[in-house]
Symmetry: C2
Subunit: 333 residues, 2 copies
DNA sequence: GGATATTGTGCAATCGTTTGTATTTTTGCG
DNA sequence: CGCAAAAATACAAACGATTGCACAATATCC
């Protein structure tokens, strides 16, 4: 492995100058910088990140903590984040919380041990507040929250426009003529889900419709939960459902089909997140698209920006767009 | 940040003993080890990975290079690998090649710069041989290949039983009574795809059917390519297609539907990889399931095993299972 | 032209952990 | 009890890059 000392020797200068030249310090002459760069190139020099991290106290690495990596949404966020981090010479260590707080803490400890410069996190659904986050991250580390955030934790937050998204999705159902619209709402400990429920309610009341607590389904955010909620919704006389997730929407769709309801004629469905399968199933599922790749880019960008102590990023809101497909589009009515 | 020196001081011993105690060296007395562990716990010690990496010349990190992280298959491999690495105190740095060689090289350089202990890689489709891999990885780094491997590169390889899988998938179609079965074969520069084509051919010839080069479709492994291949296959009189990927199978399904063919009655389809959407679309898509999570676990396990210089892992073959769904199941014939 | 800025380099310490070798302590045994 | 062997610990030198401070070289000004 070639080191800066090797380069220094070959040029008859000292390691300090080489280091400064390579890191673009204004304290070296243009000509020496060129010479150093050429020598580094020629000799195949690659910075030893471990040594660099040790000396600087920070690694050129950011940790990304997500509930699960194999979720379309999160893997795209990661992809987006990496595309930005790459340009700035940062690597990413990916950690999964598997939706539970203890794994989240474990991940934070690993990252702290690695002296990461920043952490991008979307909270585990089990975490109801951010206390454990603040305890397990040290002062200098930049914390960026995305998607599932706690407003009690300061710092940049990249979120979807959950309120607006749910509002639009619900309004769309109303405009399609559905009369009794339930919602699969998720967990209220999550601000994202709470905002969606609020948007749903606002849409109903703006359009002069009644809000009925009986057809608000809290809890499970997986397909099975959606299936159960869908069945109850149908029992209660709903003719449509807005769901805060596509898996739950899929469950509701399954319930509707089993009960012999035609979708969208008899029963309308709009989900959230625009999972890959949503466009592919029959009937295709309408969904409020988030923009995970873009959110990842924004999160990484927020980290980069925050590296300068003066510049502070606040909340970045990424829009949600209605992708109207078959499950909610009554062509003739 | 508390260091081993702090612990040493508080116990009236030296850092070297603390280091050895914490790393489980047999050279420290049981009682001191206990004392050190307790002090470390009490003082909230966490090893500085950067310092450790620098001194040892190796980081407790493995790099995972995949074409794309947002592919169901790869994100599950990563999940599996992490589940194992975690138990051994290793972290993972994830890199994407975006299917091209230059990004693959870039990733290798980043990883080398980070002195990773190992690299788990599934090659970019653009890479037709492993020369650039060997050039950009240093001697001591353990290289484990999975899924898309080059047999020219020595070391552990975790692969699906591609030959057998394609063989079974094809045989299934034959047994369902399809008479002219095409194949969407992918790129022959990939050994995985080549093996699948071979399995397909073997199945045909074992079952006394003719192999027709006209209905072997090379190239594109995305939906559009499948769509085009599907159309040509139909033109050529095929009544079924075996596809080496689910996205291409989806394209073929789309083509069949557009041409007014009923699936599976008039046209049978079996894909490969069992993507999430495959079970959800209509008709549901039969597919040769790989076991990505398991492959990830095996790859990580191979790395761990290879840490001991004596133990060498060779080739690990993970079976592929036929998931027969609607697209290939003629209930009445 | 000489004193003072300005710019470019060198010196040397440091980050925290690991590990080969030296030294001390303990143990076992005649 | 004394001595050798074994066990436990201490010492000190790395690993490679960074950076505050000192110093040298050059430019600038009156």
């Amino acid at each position: 492995m070639v080191t800066i000392s090797d380069i220094a020797k070959s040029l008859g200068i000292t390691p300090s100058t080489v280091s400064r030249a390579l890191s673009g310090s204004p304290r070296v002459k243009e000509s020496t910088r060129k010479a150093v760069e050429k020598a580094a190139e020629r000799m195949g020099y690659e910075r030893d990140e471990a040594a660099s991290s040790l000396r600087r106290g920070r690694a050129k690495v950011v940790g990304i903590i997500v509930p699960r990596i194999n979720r379309e949404f999160f893997s795209n966020v990661i992809g987006g984040a990496e595309s930005v981090l790459d340009n700035y010479g940062y690597s990413a260590i990916i950690c999964q919380s598997h939706e539970n707080t203890s794994d989240e803490i474990k991940a934070l400890k690993t990252l702290r041990s690695n002296r990461v410069a920043g952490v991008l996190i979307s909270h585990a659904i089990e975490s109801t507040n951010g206390a454990h986050i603040l305890e397990n991250i040290d002062q200098g580390t930049i914390l960026v929250q995305f998607d599932r955030v706690f407003s009690s934790i300061p710092g940049p937050k990249i979120i979807s426009d959950n309120f607006r998204g749910a509002y639009e999705g619900t309004r769309h159902l109303i405009e399609q003529g559905y009369k009794k619209i339930g919602i699969i709402a998720g967990y209220m400990s999550s601000e994202a889900y709470a905002a969606r429920l609020a948007g749903y309610k606002q849409a109903l009341s703006d359009m002069g419709m009644e809000i009925d607590d009986e057809i608000i389904f809290y809890g499970s955010i997986v397909q099975k939960g959606g299936y159960e909620a869908g069945n109850i919704a149908i029992d209660k006389g709903c003719d449509a459902i807005f769901s805060t997730g596509d898996y739950t929407a899929l469950g509701a769709l399954q319930a509707a089909k089993e009960r012999g309801l035609r979708v969208p004629e008899d029963f309308g469905i709009v989900g959230t997140a625009d999972e890959r399968f949503s466009a592919l199933i029959t009937p295709s599922l309408s969904s409020m698209a988030q923009h995970p790749y873009e959110m990842g880019r924004r999160a990484a960008q927020a980290f980069i920006t925050s590296l300068k102590p003066e510049a502070k990023v606040g909340e970045v809101v990424v829009p949600m767009d209605l992708i109207a497909r078959q499950s909610s589009t009554r062509t003739t009515i």
